[in-house]
Structures are given as structure tokens and as C-alpha cells.
Amino acid sequence: MLDTAQPVRRTPGRDTARPARRRRRPRSGPYLLILPALVVIGVLLIWPVVQISRMSFEKVGVRQLRGEPAENVGLANYRQILGDGFFWTTFRHTVLFAVVAVAATLLVGTLVGLLINRLGRRMSAFVAGGVLIAWATPPITAAIIFSWLFGTTGGLVNWFLDLLPNALVGSGWASYNWFATPLPTYTVLTICVVWMSFPFVAVSVLAGLRTVPRELYEAARVDGSNAWHGFWRITFPLLRPIFGVLLALSVIWDFRVFTQLFVMSGLANRDAFNLSLYGYSEAFGSLNARYGLGSAIAVVLTLIVLIVTAMYARMVIRQEGAA
């Protein structure tokens, strides 16, 4: 059987029959092609997740870097952070910032997308160009520019607020320090992050709007509905998948904001910590490195982000059909 089966299977391959050709491809092919990527992802992204999960139950310090085995402490790390008021302060900062920044980003981005869609060809290219500049700015430069704009001496914002009538904004802006307490720090951080993130929302919404047939709006106008109704009855339902993806991505990104806060406020300013800065500071902020505790904080952060990611992945896969 085997002896005859082989040549029979091979002959159509040499032949010009198409379907047989396609089937002749070695079955290990695709696996070999994804293997290098799988190895990299496994070693650099998945294995570290396993490690932080493990380390969050251990006491890991500088000694363990030299290879000493870590001591298993069970839930002690989690008990310590969850029972600590400071953890909940950073948690509150993280969540409140994400809620405000995501809402503002989606609102501004959608409005700008709708606006660009209604402009003439030249004007829309002009505005899109400006929006692109904000998008392209590296996080670290954005943070430094906003530190300068909100700077205490020579800062443009303080100058402007000082110029406004005192009855409107109060007085004493000339030497106001925005980075002394958490609330003003987070105000600047929010403005900076919204400025950096709204362009992606705007461009995505714009891309979506271009797929909506104009006749729908014309029909709605004939029916006498205004722009507000047009948005909620036509645009929003049609673009719902896009808004779903944008919402999930924004939540994921704003939950983990690190570089901007690090630059604006720094490791010395504990009052303004968020979760990612707190975790980082436990591990790297002092000579007494507490990697286990930092890992526990990182696990909390990762879990929140992964829950949102799962929702995001489900949306994308469903929209792609069978993927």
C-alpha cells in the first residue's frame, strides 16, 4: 500500500493540476514560520508574566539577584499592599486619571474627527497635518514640553492665567507651582496625555466616517433631523465597533501611563504616584529593592489591563469574522 501511495500522491504535483499543487506544501511550513516569533514572544513577554506572578508570592531582594533562592511568603505581599492606605491612594489616582483622560480623549478625538470630515479637501489636510504633529511627539518630549509650558518661571500658562482678570481665575498665578501637589500635577498630566492621544481617535473616527454612505445623512436631513440626531442615529450605531476598540485601547494605554508622570513628577514625589510608578519605585526606587512587592503591584496592574484586553480582543476577532 505504502509503496503505491507515495508515487500516486506525488504525480499530480508535477502535473499542472492546481489544487494538488497547493496541497503539496509541507505541513510543517507555517509552524516553522511562526516559530521564531513564538520563541521571542514566549521568552520576552509571556515568561516575564509568569515570573511576576511567581515573584509576587516571594520575598525577592538584591540577594536574589546573585542567585540566592527566594523565600516563599504566600500572600504576604498582597496582604501588605491591599492593607496599605498608600496603595489605595495610588490606585485611586490610576483609576480617576484613566476615567477622566479616556473620556476627554474620546470626546475631543471624536469631535475633531467629525470636524475634519466636514472640512474641504485642503483645509482637512491642513488640520490633519497639525493633528499628526501632536500624535508623533515622543512621550518623553511631550512631558518635557508640558513641564515647560506649565513651568513656574517663564511658563506660558502661568503668564496667561496671570493676565486674565483676577475675578475670573483668582490671583497669584505668576509663581504658581503646578507640580507641588497631586491634583495640579494630574491636571497637567491629563492635558498632556489627551493632547498626545486624541489624534489617534480623530484619525480612526475619520477613517470610519469615510465609509458611511452620504445618502444616509441626506435621507435623515429630508426627514428633518439635525446634526445631533444624525450623529446618534446614524454615525454612532455604524461606528460602534470602532468606538468599542478605541475605548478599550484608550483604557489600556491610560491605565499604564508611566513616562510622562515620571518626567513631570518623578520618583521623589510619592504623593503623586500611580500604580505603575508605585510598583517601579518599590523595585528600583531605593537601594533596598523589594522586587516581590513591586511584582504584586505589577500583577494588579496587569490583571486590570488584561481584563480590558480580553474585551478588546473579543471585539476585534468578532469583527474579523473567523479571523
Binding site: A37, A134, I145, A207, F258, V308
Partner: protein, 280 residues
């Protein structure tokens, strides 16, 4: 059917306003970089430098931070970014070809994996990666940093390239196969030239990821002569506090290449991230 005049005026005014708000911070950075100190710290701001000077740029480019010259930071950044682009581009192309050209078991699983891992917060992974690299004695090397950046650029790169590979008509490859070309020949002679634009877009994305990255470079590279440009900028900012002229000049030098590259790639980034949400 044109909109009434007042409405067009209102829309265009709003457009100009959006442009100004979006571009202003970057404009202010560049403008500050060219101003002499007297204008930077004057009590009434000058929108444009009245006596433009290259002093701050010269100070940054000719000077050194922590005993290391600007060009060494620049070189480190370039090496890291280019290595990341080449390695992640190659691996992403292989994986994207598999996903776009073959139906195999675990294909969907692999796609979901790509989507999920690109969202894992790198802020959470910095601790285990630091410990691993420390144990392997690769902490202070650019190689370790490049490996980490490849890991972060790969999932999105594969996801993005997948669409480009799928867009190449299969008939072309089949025709080449009929002419007796082997798989390698088909890959290099048929697929690669057609996927090239996608590869460029993906490369620019990986380049920006590596060029901008701060957290890992800051944590891993303890020797200043190994450090990359964002580290130099942060160090500079921390040290010179309110010396905004040089800080803005250094920021400008870091940012302009990114903005230039970004213009090349932005369309693809959107379609990669919102993939599937917009049909067609």
C-alpha cells in the same frame, strides 16, 4: 449642495483652532530652542525668537552629559533602533506570511495571542526582565535592550504586516510555482517586492518604538556611555532644571526624526490597530 457661508466660516475657524492647539506645543519647543535666554525668561513671552540663536543647539551637540557626548547617545539610539527594525521586521514577515498564506491548527490562537500580548503593560514586565538580564550579565548592554524592544515591536508588526501579505494576490505565487520556482525563490522574488511598502511602514513603527522608549533604557543601562537619547534628555532635564533653552534644543533633536518618519506611516498605523473595525 454646499453649506451656507456662515457655517463654512465657523467650521474653518474651528479647523484653524484645532490645528493651532495640536501644533502649538511642538512649535513652542522649537521656538524656545532658538531663543536667547533673555527672551526665554522675559516676563512677556515672545512667540518667535527675535534674535534667533544656535547657541543652545551648539551647547547640546558639542557638549557632553555625564561625560558622554551627544553623538554617542545618538549613535546608541540609532544602533538600537536599527537593530530592532531589522530583527523584528524579519521575524514579523515570516510569521505574517504563515498567518496570511496558510490555514493551520492554532492559527486563530496565534492571532489572539498577538493581540493580547501587545497589550501586556511593559511597566509590569520591567522587574522580571531586569532580573533575568542581570543574571545573564546583559544588563548594561545594548544587546539586551534590543532583544526587549524586538519583543515589544514584534506582535504589532506581525499584526500589521499580515494585512499586507494577504493583499498580495495568491495567483502570482501560484504562477511562479507553476514556472517551477521553489518556495524560497517565490518568497524573495514575488512576495518580498510586493510586500515592501508594508515592510517600510512596519519598520518605521518599530523604529519609533525603539527610538522613543524610555523606561527600559533608563532601568537597564547604568553606564552613561551606553545610554540612549531619551536617557540623555531626562538626565539633562533633571540636572539643569530650568535651563529650558538647551533642554528644548535637545528635545527638538530627539523629536524631529520621529515626526518625519511618522508622516510616512500614519495611515497604516490606524488600519493596523483598528483592523477589522472598518470594513474595506
Amino acid at each position: 449642495m454646499r453649506a451656507p457661508l456662515w457655517r463654512r466660516v465657523a467650521l474653518n475657524t474651528a479647523g484653524v483652532f484645532v490645528f493651532l492647539v495640536s501644533a502649538f506645543p511642538v512649535f513652542w519647543m522649537v521656538s524656545t530652542a532658538f531663543k536667547p535666554n533673555g527672551e526665554i525668561f522675559s516676563s512677556t513671552p515672545h512667540p518667535l525668537p527675535e534674535h534667533p540663536t544656535l547657541k543652545h543647539f551648539r551647547f547640546v551637540v558639542d557638549g557632553s552629559v555625564a561625560g558622554v557626548s551627544f553623538w554617542d547617545y545618538f549613535l546608541n539610539s540609532a544602533v538600537v533602533a536599527i537593530a530592532t527594525v531589522v530583527i523584528s521586521g524579519l521575524l514579523a514577515l515570516l510569521a505574517a506570511t504563515a498567518v496570511a498564506r496558510f490555514r493551520f491548527r492554532f492559527r486563530t490562537t496565534f492571532l489572539i495571542l498577538l493581540l493580547v500580548v501587545q497589550m501586556v503593560p511593559c511597566e509590569a514586565l520591567v522587574i522580571p526582565l531586569f532580573i533575568d538580564l542581570k543574571r545573564m550579565e546583559m544588563l548594561n548592554s545594548l544587546v539586551g535592550l534590543i532583544a526587549v524592544y524586538v519583543g515589544f515591536a514584534l506582535p504589532f508588526g506581525t499584526w500589521m504586516l499580515r494585512g499586507f501579505v494577504a493583499a498580495v494576490p495568491k495567483d502570482l505565487e501560484e504562477a511562479a510555482a507553476l514556472d517551477g520556482a521553489g518556495p524560497l525563490r517565490i518568497f524573495f522574488r514575488v512576495l518580498l517586492p510586493l510586500v515592501a511598502p508594508g515592510l517600510v511602514a512596519t519598520s518605521v513603527f518599530s523604529f519609533i518604538t525603539a527610538w522613543n522608549e524610555f523606561l527600559f533604557a533608563f532601568t537597564f543601562l547604568k553606564d552613561q556611555d551606553k545610554a540612549t537619547l531619551p536617557i540623555m534628555l531626562q538626565f539633562f532635564f533633571g540636572r539643569s532644571g530650568n535651563d529650558w533653552g538647551p533642554i528644548m534644543a535637545a528635545s527638538t533633536l530627539l523629536t524631529l526624526p520621529v515626526i518625519a518618519f511618522f508622516l510616512v506611516v500614519q495611515r497604516r498605523m490606524v488600519s493596523g490597530l483598528v483592523a477589522g473595525a472598518v470594513k474595506g
